[in-house]
């Protein structure tokens, strides 16, 4: 599937989804935005929500009409739609990796988690030599040292550190 076909296939899925999302927001407007009867329109706190949602509905509608009325610039079939959708779904795998990493940090600690994450992901994406694994570990260590130890970015210390002897545990909780 070439780039143009993929793009048009994706647009045929995305634009109607945008429209549906905008219509959903518009339909829930009265539930989700409080309207004060004693205030004029321009002083309503929901004015900007109203402007944005109305704008989204109108522009999404026009975008959909343009896509489905304009002559096709590429040969799109249901097969190309599925292929493009498949690409999006494939990307979700890495989101799962990311979220597992996020949830694991408070338990396993920032340094061990980052080393595991970078090494396993490097192996997953096809760099299976020792050289790349070492580079992945180095990246993890440098990231943790710079951000956690040096810049003191607030990332929780791992619960696992508390099982270690006190001086080491304190050091790890503070810096790694």
């Amino acid at each position: 599937m070439d780039k143009d076909t993929g793009q048009l296939a994706g647009i045929r899925i995305a634009y109607p989804a945008f429209l549906l999302f905008a219509v959903f927001l518009a339909a829930t407007f009265t539930d989700q935005v409080k309207w004060f009867n004693n205030l004029v329109l321009f002083k309503q706190p929901g004015l900007w929500a109203l402007i944005s949602v109305s704008g989204m509905v109108v522009t999404a509608l026009i975008a959909c009409i343009q896509v489905f009325i304009k002559p096709k610039t590429a040969d799109v079939t249901w097969r190309s739609d599925v292929q493009e959708l498949g690409f999006w779904v494939r990307a979700c795998e890495y989101l799962v990796w990311f979220m597992v990493y996020v949830f694991a940090v408070p338990y396993l600690g920032y340094l061990p988690c980052t080393i595991l994450f970078t090494t396993l992901l490097t192996l997953r994406v096809g760099h299976r030599s020792m050289r790349w694994c070492v580079r992945a570990i180095l990246l993890a260590v440098v990231t943790v040292v710079i951000f956690r130890a040096f810049l003191q970015v607030k990332i929780p210390g791992g619960q696992i550190y508390e099982w270690l002897p006190s001086p080491l545990s304190k050091f790890l909780l503070m810096y790694l």
């Binding site: 989700q32 999404a60 990311f98 979220m99 760099h127």
Partner: protein
């Protein structure tokens, strides 16, 4: 003069200078790696600067902002792949020069042109400061509201051929900004009874998702590539000498960059195309453009590098960002308790001058660094794309988590990362979302303030500056529809 000296004094501290050095060099390297870009780097590093002093943190991120375009020219010239999106035009003439065995000449010419663009732009900023200090206080709530509206109109219309979807994205950005507890009547907007939505969407989280996580996903999912760079041949000082053969072109191109930088929503692309067209029209060898013309290279690099400093003018004077990067720089300022706007020029002019001088130093540091270390940077470019994607994802976690120490934020960034991936695949503009979030907030705030002083809608434009901005908005919209109508007529007459 005293204010300038006070600015120098602020800057001459070891921690500020180290931050400037790290930011400048880091920016060049980040700009040189295709697929990373300054937006990703600033978003990741912003939370890391929370613990630093305002000037230290600001100068570091300013370094990245101002120097990335320099680095972006390197892969554009050597590999035909722009390091940052705004280096796209550099490939036209830079890469053919590399193919002819003149890589070093092309690279040094690009650095020299960028240096001239950068320095002229900062000079304009310094010269305009006294004017800005007088003009900025004329901007009240109404004027800033209208200037933000002008920014929105320009950012949508600048996406020619995609205006409708750019407008959708802008409204989406305004919507995202309106979610949560509003501070006037304390009512909730679109929270669906979810406590985590009460505080709304944080701009940095959205930006990290849309720019960093999405880029990581794209690099991880697409076919892995290890960029190959050619040998650097030719003399590095050839280009520096050569720039003196084109002083007028470098000056005019920088001028285009400065003007386009000041106008919100227009930016580097328009500046480059205008200066490139000008260079081609005034050249004695226009047929060489696109085939390795040194003039084409000078035009595009001088213009694009003049933009960042010039874009600081509306940002610092009015607090209005013109594109995604300046929108992020605005959050950088806010995070460090520096509020850009008319009052900044009145109360903290020494601070403003310190930033200007930092921009000058940045250009000098980067220029010298590039002349000495280009060969080493070339090695950084050769990181395989999937390994790069993994690195960005790892670093994104630090950026996202440290904003509010929240796992929910990581989930939100992941969702925006997925959306960003789809937008990138489909070539849907993302910048309007960021500007919608920033300008939407400014407009809502200023609109509310202005309502206290207006009785009818016409009162909005009853002051000279407001009337001028409103007229410009009307003119731009009319001109856009006029050009659409004219294109349609031409199409009909052709068929």
């Amino acid at each position: 003069m005293d204010t300038i000296l006070a600015g120098v004094e602020l800057l001459l501290r070891w921690d500020v200078l180290v931050a400037l050095f790290i930011g400048s060099i880091g920016g060049v390297i980040i700009g040189a790696i295709p697929g990373v870009g300054p937006a990703v780097a600033i978003a990741i590093l912003l939370p890391a600067t929370y613990s630093l002093e305002p000037l230290v943190g600001l100068v570091m991120l300013l370094g990245i902002y101002g120097s990335s375009i320099y680095g972006g020219s390197l892969p554009a010239i050597l590999m035909n792949t722009p390091g940052t999106a705004v280096n796209a035009l550099t490939t036209y003439d830079g890469y053919p020069m590399t193919q002819r065995g003149e890589a070093k000449r092309a690279v040094s010419l690009a650095y020299s042109a960028s240096f001239i663009g950068g320095i002229l732009s900062v000079s304009a900023l310094i010269l305009l400061s006294p004017v800005l200090a007088v003009v900025a206080p004329m901007f009240g709530s109404r004027e800033i509201f209208l200037a933000a509206l002008l920014g929105m109109v320009l950012v949508v219309l600048s996406h020619r051929g995609k205006v409708v979807i750019a407008a959708f994205m802008l409204f989406f950005g305004i919507f995202l900004n309106s979610v949560g507890l509003e501070i006037v009547r304390y009512s909730r907007r679109y929270t669906y009874d979810q406590a985590w939505l009460n505080s709304g969407f944080d701009l940095i989280i959205v930006v990290l998702g849309l720019f960093a996580v999405s880029q990581a996903l794209l690099l991880l999912t697409e076919k892995s590539e290890t960029p190959k760079t050619p040998k650097l041949e030719g003399g590095i000082f050839e280009g520096i000498k050569e720039i003196f053969k084109h002083p007028r072109l470098a000056g005019v191109s920088s001028f285009f960059g400065i003007i386009m930088g000041i106008v919100p929503g227009v930016g580097e692309f328009t500046a480059q195309f205008l200066s490139y067209n000008y260079a081609q029209k005034t050249s004695k060898a226009p047929e060489k453009f696109g085939k390795g013309s040194p003039e084409g290279l000078v035009a595009s690099e001088a213009a694009n590098n003049a933009v960042p400093a010039a874009a600081m003018i509306p940002l610092l004077a009015l607090g209005i960002p013109g594109e995604a990067l300046t929108a992020m720089m605005l959050s950088v300022f806010y995070v460090h308790n520096v509020i850009p706007g008319p009052k900044l020029f009145q109360d903290n002019l020494d601070f403003v001058y310190a930033l200007y001088i930092a921009l000058i130093l940045l250009n000098i540091i980067v220029f010298v660094f590039l002349l000495g270390f280009t060969k080493r940077i070339v090695r950084v470019i050769q990181i395989p794309t999937r390994f790069l994607g993994m690195s960005i994802l790892t670093l994104s976690f630090v950026g996202i988590y440290s904003v509010r120490n929240s796992i929910t934020d990581c989930a939100i960034a992941a969702v925006f990362g997925f959306l960003g991936l789809i937008f990138k695949r489909l070539d849907i503009p993302v910048v309007p979302i960021v500007l919608g979030m920033v300008l939407g907030g400014i407009m809502e705030n200023k609109f509310r303030n202005a309502l206290a002083r207006v009785d009818t809608p016409l009162d909005f434009v009853n002051r000279p500056v407001a009337a001028v901005i409103a007229s410009i908005i009307v003119l731009i919209v009319v001109a856009h529809f006029w050009s659409l109508w004219r294109d349609r007529q031409r199409g009909r007459s052709k068929s």
